[in-house]
């Protein structure tokens, strides 16, 4: 059963960045400003996690400073798409390209290295081994031996479920996306909600990136997010706003990514194994398209009605 433990443990590790980024993306989908720049925000998070870690010598310290930087970046991005009315899709694409280029540039100009930055000074987040449960087969791999960010991701799933039910802020976020005038005339602030969504998204993407660079490893390599940001966007879209679905889909993507790595060369050629996550995504897309409701809820528009 060792292979199963290894597979599940690896699956949980792959799931963490996808889930974190998708939870951030979900909030931007509520305000109808879907951020497709997760990949870019994540690679920045990965880079600065390592950079701040080198400076501070503490993994948790690096996380805190990276989060603050991400909040500022999210604020700027939010202002860009609201006050300056930049199309959010374009801004997201630019963020992806910018993230890929800027991290390479910074890597070379600050550290003078190409490809990867590995240093003994880079801290690594502790793996929390849970006693007793950690020794139980299957459950152990699933639950024990992960970083604090993995547990945080699942706590955030619970928090988000609770907030959807009981918080005013989620209501206002959704109203800001679905019918901004309704929120504005009820005394709410649409712009603040739209910016808040981006700040939240950037912070979670930063955590997702840091999990990859100083959580799973303790090094930074160029392009190390390798498309997981896009997988997270897909998970957020597939979930159609439902948090539990989002968690489930992120887990499926995480497990299939792990399968791509873990499957032995004797079972199938690695080129095929690595296709698994994408095949899963494609199948998911087809299933979603076939089960998608045509007759979505819509409000009557007085005077002129579109059909």
């Amino acid at each position: 059963m060792d292979w199963l433990d290894a597979f599940l443990g690896s699956g949980m590790r792959f799931t963490t960045p996808i889930l974190l980024a998708a939870l951030g993306c979900l909030v931007t989908s509520w305000t109808r400003d879907l951020n497709v720049g997760l990949e870019g925000a994540m690679i920045f998070g990965a880079f600065f996690g390592v950079a701040f870690g080198l400076e501070l010598g503490s993994g948790l310290g690096a996380i805190v400073v990276t989060l603050l930087a991400a909040a500022v970046a999210g604020l700027l991005f939010g202002i860009l798409i609201t006050t300056y009315r930049v199309n959010v899709f374009v801004a997201g694409i630019v963020l992806n390209v910018f993230g890929a280029g800027a991290t390479v540039f910074l890597l070379r100009s600050i550290y003078g290295v190409k490809g990867a930055l590995a240093d003994d000074g880079i801290p690594r987040l502790a793996r929390i081994e849970i006693p007793v449960i950690g020794d139980i087969p299957v459950l152990g791999g699933l639950v024990s031996g992960h970083t604090v960010l993995t547990y945080l991701a699942w706590v955030l799933v619970g928090v988000t479920v609770w907030a959807v039910r009981n918080s005013v802020v989620v209501r206002h976020l959704k109203a800001a996306g679905e019918h901004p005038e309704a929120l504005e005339t009820a005394g709410g602030n649409v712009q603040r909600m739209r910016i808040l969504a981006q700040v939240w998204c950037f912070m979670l993407c930063a955590l997702a990136g840091a999990q990859m660079s100083i959580g799973q490893l303790s090094l930074f390599t160029e392009g190390m997010t390798s498309g997981l940001g896009f997988v997270a966007v897909a998970a957020a879209i597939f979930s159609r706003g439902n948090v539990l679905w989002l968690a489930a889909i992120s887990t499926v993507f995480g497990l299939s990514s792990a399968a791509g790595v873990q499957i032995n060369e004797e079972v199938m050629p690695p080129q095929f194994a690595q296709m698994i996550p994408y095949v899963v995504a494609l199948v998911g897309l087809v299933v979603l398209a076939r089960t998608s409701k045509v007759d979505q809820v819509r409000i009557a528009t007085p005077q002129l009605q579109a059909d």
Partner: protein
């Protein structure tokens, strides 16, 4: 209580209000005062500045000059919340309800019960029970708003305003989306609220409704206040004269020569369709329209009138029956072929189907010319000099108020947009013209003009099918009227022999022997 507050002062008073948008003056030196316990109608043509004025009273715009007083105390509304704090509430023409939210969530939006930052479903339910009781309505708090009928959504809007503690209620064209019965019901609710001491502002351009509900009437014309009248001491003619600046506007039946027995042009026989997403399915609908005749189709919206218009034009397929124009069966033909057989169509949804709303006047008029091209002509410039000449001529002939044929359609008033559509359709000299809600959002002057043009078309033999939710329109214009209910024709009347009340009964489903 502020010491400047006077109990005898008007609940809300606006004086000397001026608002400009760039070079356009939307309001100039406007006065309005509201007393507790009254329903105050604000009337005026489209573009007279009614909505602008109300948006200033609700803090959505800020006036350039003038003062707003609440119970004698001067107030400045920088945002809607300021107006809400001053106990002013607004029911917008386009509902401010989030479709996927529940009724309770929508009503409490912006003032959620349940403690700071929290929303409690149960406490929301309790909190909205009181305003619902005050209004005398009972709506399931957990129903999803977007699935409810338009009339129910409007009641939710009113409950929402009451929930926020409003003493002044502003309703922007609330009856535009309601049936006659729903309108009557709304008026009862408004009277009930006024009797409790609220002041109601009722914005409308339908004078029948204004006189049915209002105590006082303030008229705006071109952004200025013409005057405030006691409803009991004035009449429709005086108000129309104030609204339009003309004393000769005809609000009664449109005078035209009703032709003698003419041959039938449009023959509809036992037509049935599948159910389209937005309307009822047609079920064995039969009728004929003779040359020069106007046949009205009345009914509560959603009973198949839209489906009928679409089935005739060819955007909705028939599952049974036949349609023929001037003796040719067109049931299996596409829209273009039906137009070639003499069918004209003024669609219900002007912005989506009637004209390119972000295009120019020229582009809106051009299709009828361009469509007729054959052979190599299709490769020629679409907006040729010839098309431009035709368009310029039509703009002049139909008195379309636009900066020129290159003006963008969305900058025109509803009346001028509709004139473009009607001009384009009539220019083809159709044998049969289908009009769907032809005067929605069109001002009185333009309505009168359009009716005149339609009357002219019938004089030269055009058969007209008039689908309208506005009973007044049908009574003013049509010779015969059919009432539709659940996709069937339930009554057929000669317009001169029937009344609003009788038609209203048939609209609720009552059948007569006269039905086809």
């Amino acid at each position: 209580m502020n010491e400047t507050t006077r109990p005898d002062a008007p609940l809300l008073e606006a004086s000397g209000i001026t608002k400009r948008f760039g070079p356009v003056v939307a309001n100039e030196d406007v006065h309005l005062d509201l007393r507790a316990g009254e329903v105050h109608a604000l009337v005026g043509e489209n573009g007279a500045g009614k909505t602008t004025l109300m948006r200033m009273l609700f803090g959505m715009y800020q006036p350039d000059a003038g003062v707003i007083r609440v119970r004698g105390e001067e107030r400045q509304f920088r945002r809607p919340q300021d107006a809400i704090d001053a106990q002013i509430g607004m029911v917008h023409q386009h509902f401010m309800l989030v479709p996927t939210f529940t009724v309770a969530e929508n009503i409490t939006l912006g003032a959620e019960p349940g403690g700071p930052g929290l929303y409690s479903k149960d406490r929301a339910k309790e909190a909205i029970a009181e305003p619902m009781r005050r209004l005398g309505v009972d709506i399931d708090p957990e129903a999803v708003t977007g699935r409810l009928s338009v009339a129910t959504q409007q009641k939710i809007e009113i409950v929402k305003v009451l929930y926020r503690g409003a003493r002044v209620l502003i309703l922007d064209e609330p009856t535009a989306v309601l049936t006659p019965q729903e309108t009557t019901e709304l008026f009862e609710l408004l009277r009930r609220l006024a009797a409790e001491g609220s002041a109601i502002v009722f914005i409308s351009h339908k004078l029948g409704e204004v006189f049915a509900v209002a105590d006082r009437i303030t008229v705006l014309r071109r952004g200025r206040t013409v005057g405030t009248y006691d409803a009991a001491a004035t009449d429709a003619a005086e108000v129309v004269a104030a609204m339009t600046g003309r004393s000769d506007v005809n609000l009664g039946r449109v005078e035209r020569v009703v032709p003698e027995e003419q041959p039938p042009v449009l023959l509809v026989d036992a037509v049935s369709t599948e159910k389209p997403g937005h309307d009822a399915a047609l079920d064995q609908v039969s009728f004929t329209v003779r040359a020069g005749e106007i046949l009205g189709i009345a009914g509560v919206e959603g009973n198949g009138q839209t489906a009928l218009a679409e089935a005739l034009v060819g955007t909705l397929a028939l599952t049974g029956g036949s349609v023929s124009i001037s003796g040719t069966d067109v049931g299996g033909l596409d829209v273009a072929a039906r137009r070639d057989h003499g069918l004209g169509y003024v669609p219900e949804d002007r912005h989506h189907e009637g004209l390119p709303i972000n295009g120019t006047v020229l582009e809106a008029i051009a299709p009828c010319e361009v469509r007729k091209r054959t052979g190599l002509g299709v490769l020629a410039s679409a907006l040729s000099a010839k098309v431009r000449t035709t368009a310029t001529g039509l703009v002049r002939e139909y008195d379309i108020k636009a900066a020129g044929v290159d003006a963008v359609c969305s900058t025109l008033s509803g009346g001028n947009q509709q004139k473009i559509v009607v001009a384009r359709e009539l220019e083809e000299q159709p044998a049969c013209l289908v009009l769907a809600q032809p005067t929605r959002g069109v001002d009185l002057g333009a309505i009168e003009y359009l009716y005149g043009r339609i009357a002219e078309a019938t004089a030269r033999g055009c058969a007209v099918l008039l689908v309208s939710a506005d009973l007044d329109e049908i009574l003013r214009l049509s010779d015969r009227v059919l009432v539709m209910y659940r996709g069937r024709v339930v009554a057929e009347k000669q317009t001169l022999d029937t009344t609003r009340e009788e038609l209203g009964m048939h609209m609720m489903g009552a059948t007569t022997g006269g039905a086809a």
